[in-house]
Amino acid sequence: MSSFSSVLDVTKPDFDVEAYVVKLLREKSLDGLVKEEEEMVSAVRRLDSDVHQIVYENYNKFLTATNTVRKIQDEFTQLDSEMKSLSQSMTTISTLIGNLDGVLGEKRDDILQLGSSYKVVNSLKHIFDLPHVLQSEFDERNYGEVLRMFKLAEESLEQYKDVPTVQTVLQKSKKIYDMTENQLMDQLRNPASGAELVSEAVDLLLTIGRDEDEVQQVLLRCSEQSLREDLKELSTNHSDVLDLVDKASESFIPNLTLIATTHDRLFEEKRDELLAVLQTEMNSLHALVSKVFLSSMDAKDCSIVVRALDRYFRKISTCRHVIPGLDFLPLTIELINEVSKHEIDLSLLRIKEELKNSLNEVRKALINEEKDLSGLASKIEQVFVHQVKTALANLLLFTASDVTFANLPPDEFRQSFALNAHERLLVQAFHRFAELADEYESGAGETRFIDPRVLLVFSVALQHLSNKSAVYLLNLCREQFSLTPEEGLTDISVVTLEVKLRAQKLVRCYAEKTGLSMGETLVKGCTMLVQPAATPSAIRASVRRLVEEMNICDSELALLLGGDSKPKEARVSRRPITTALDAARDSLWCERIDFHLQIHFNRASIITVIVKVVLKIFIESIRLQTYSKFGVEQVQVDCYYLQRCLAALVSDEVVVNSMVDQALSSALKRCQDPVLVHPSRLAQLCEAPPASANRPSSQASSLGY
């Protein structure tokens, strides 16, 4: 197959023209043949031109090569002539050398001697120059050079020390040498002057044979000294805690690290001693810093404290890496925890102070006849909420994202801090508030003589707080510090209950005090009424005044707590007591008056307590007297009037009825021969001067006793 195809391939050597032609003729049509022919012709032409091209190119190259060869030939000829002249010059030189050798041969020894003398002179000059050289080297602080040169010189000059001049030189040099040594020691003693200098000094001192232990001791002692000085400077000269930390991180801590690195490089094996020294110094620093941190007295400085704390913490944690073995991180974390507690305590104090102030303001406002009690109450509440929020915001600084220690593992700082913020600050703040309420309730100090309305305002504030703001604040805190109830937090209800309890206590205290003050007029009225000369003609002024005061108080309460202050229409349907027998029988049915019922924060409930207290005072005063016939009549009239006016105010008029009955029956018991007024006359007497019955207080004062 291949032989066959190669026969037909034009390019192959065994190409058979005959076969090819035969094949063409046999296979192709006429057109095909013509086309074949044309292709062949063009191929031949192309081949032809290619061959021409190749021939021309190669020819040109040949011509160039010929030229180059010719040039080389010319240069060789030139070189040949130059070599010839060189060989001639060489011959001349060798003859000249031969001549010179002969001339110099005799003087060689002299020249050698001259050279060595010159050397001796030179070194002598050097020796005499030595002090100057040393001095200049010393001046340029090349202490190493000084020492080296002196050592060299000393060795060689030792043998000539009998020669006086040499001796002086030696002495002078020695002096400089000593100076150098002292200078080095000084350098050593000032470890803050730089690690390079110190280590150089140590190296040199060691090379000149100073005792290693001694050098190390000096170094340590001096380090200690300088750190102490830094510390002293720090302790006396700082404006606030941030300033202190800044200054510490500029002087003390860098020095500390410097000393440590220097010492480490030089006396690796004596680390323990170094660490002991550093430890004590760090302890002092830490003590100082702690003291300053914990002596900050104003909760407002919290941001500064946090910043300082952050810086200190960073310094200490880098310190730990720079000086292995000196780890103050745990102590610092402890400090952070302590400082945070301290700040919490400060905030707490501040909250309490502010509360006290606002309560004092309320007192002042009430002295100045301030009428807007609810405004005052909400002010107290707001002060509390605001102060607590401010305190929480301050504490949030401790956990801000840019504060390094906030990113410590939660169990080292965050967790306990958050818990403290809730328990130690917030819950305690409520607790303090409650304590303050207790103080007011128990009448400690000057609060014994305060206006009872202060108590009312305070208790309303507490009540509002327990209803709404308390829950809000507790939740806010939990949110801000991402606390969950599982972490042993005080329950919200416990806190609100505590506050509610105080509100209740205070409002009771208010009601009692108000009642007592109102009752005083009655007591005085009763002691005057021992033996009236005639049957009563009107209601006593003190009783009228009591009713007026009660109405004022009622409208005040209505204004503060809402609810209608309009007295209900008094029901006169009740049958008044007319005989002593009635009284005795009625008192059998008397319900026990409970003075310890829960007080609700509405007008009626509070006024009921006041009325109870007042009526009880009335009863007590009556029982201390002994009445004549007319006295009892007067009491009866008063009782009737009180019943009519007070029953409308209270939530449950049974209380008033029963107490008024008790008053009357007490009066009956205190009379030898009681006779009661007829009911019709009672009504008549009560309405006799109807104008003044429900008048505002402006008229009351003119009535007098």
């Binding site: 128990s442 009448g443 009692e512 007592l516 026990r592 003075f595 009880k616 029982r623 030898q672």
Partner: protein, 363 residues
């Protein structure tokens, strides 16, 4: 309160005292206060030891109503009363010493001292055997020698701060050999040294409007308690009287009687016109607290496993009375029993509950 016995009298009563001389039986004397002469009596109430019932023996009091009653410190048959009889015009009043005639069911007059005003308080001092008495609107305290008959031996003028102030109560201090007398007047409480008739000390403005009652701490001579119309009980250190040692608020109305426990001075019994009797604890300012302070160093560890200590504040409240409680007293025979008397004649004898008792004795 489970351990609480009640006895009702059919007559109003304001004054009651423990039978000081009888240290065997729990026994109280109650004087009634009725304007009708014939009804008045002195009731001797005592515990039936077997049945644990309250028994009563009543003795007619023929001199009118009993305004104050005092038992003889050593003789259990002798008592004294301030009497007021309104049956005649203007009334006749006296201080009378009585002998209890157990069989006749009446009181036999031993001797009688007529007085111009009605005397409202009578306190018998066991050391000097003197009685102190006073009336509201005259600023004087009379000291009576009771040996044979009531005889005024000394009259002390009480300097009033305010013209309107009235004398409210008197009380002997158990210290100073019966020479220290406490008087409450107006808002103040004053202690008098009867030997020099001078004011020993004065607690001013102890309460809101009036200081109704006071008592001396039996163990600490510098501590007194006052009860006021504001429902508060305040304990005062007489060495610094500007602020109270402790403030309690046991009542919602006037505190008519305040009594230290004769031994455990942290217990304070009060009765008030809010018809309740309250037993409060003032542990932190009592003599036992101070003892603990002293022992603190040695016994610190023991302290911790002590049985729960009593907390300051209210321990028990008795709400069984229906009217104002005017008198309450500790029994002289049983340290854990106390009695209270309300106006409607109801007498209640109760015990300190076992829990508190054990806590007190630190068992």
């Amino acid at each position: 309160m489970s351990e609480c016995l009640m006895f009702g009298m059919d007559c109003e009563a304001r004054c009651m005292t423990t039978m000081t001389a009888d240290e065997e039986n729990i026994c109280f004397l109650v004087g009634t206060n009725n304007i009708k002469n014939d009804k008045n009596q002195v009731n001797k109430l005592f515990m039936d030891p077997e049945a644990s019932r309250l028994m009563s023996k009543s003795f007619r009091h023929p001199a009118g109503e009993v305004r104050a009653i005092a038992a003889h410190p050593t003789k259990s048959t002798i008592l004294a009363t301030c009497t007021a009889d309104f049956s005649t015009l203007g009334g006749t009043h006296s201080i009378t010493i009585w002998n209890i005639e157990e069989d006749k069911r009446t009181l036999e007059t031993v001797s009688r001292l007529p007085t111009e005003p009605v005397m409202s308080s009578l306190e018998w001092e066991p050391n000097s055997m003197k009685c102190a008495t006073m009336t509201s609107f005259i600023p004087e305290v009379h000291l009576l020698d009771m040996e044979l008959e009531p005889r005024i031996v000394q009259t002390m003028k009480i300097p009033l701060r305010n013209e309107e102030d009235e004398l409210l109560s008197i009380k002997w201090s158990p210290h100073y050999d019966g020479n220290m007398l406490g008087v409450t007047t107006g808002r103040h409480s004053i202690c008098f040294d009867v030997r020099t008739q001078s004011e020993h000390l004065k607690v001013t403005d102890a309460h809101l409007h009036r200081t109704i009652s006071m008592d001396f701490n039996p163990n600490l001579q510098h501590v007194i308690a006052t009860g006021g119309d504001d429902g508060y009980v305040r304990l005062w250190d007489t060495r610094s009287i500007s602020t109270p040692l402790m403030t309690l608020h046991p009542h919602a109305h006037w505190v008519w009687s305040v009594q230290f426990h004769p031994v455990h001075d942290q217990l304070i019994l009060t009765g008030g016109s809010d018809a309740s009797v309250v037993l409060s604890c003032a542990q932190s300012v009592s003599s036992e607290q101070q003892k603990e302070f002293r022992d603190d160093d040695e016994e610190e560890e023991e302290e911790e496993d002590l049985v729960e200590k009593l907390q300051d504040g209210q321990l028990e409240r008795i709400d069984e009375h229906e009217d104002s409680v005017y008198a309450c007293a500790w029994s002289s025979a049983d340290p854990w029993t106390f009695a209270s008397l309300s106006y409607d004649g109801r007498m209640i004898v109760s015990n300190v509950s076992r829990k508190h008792k054990y806590a007190l004795m630190q068992l």
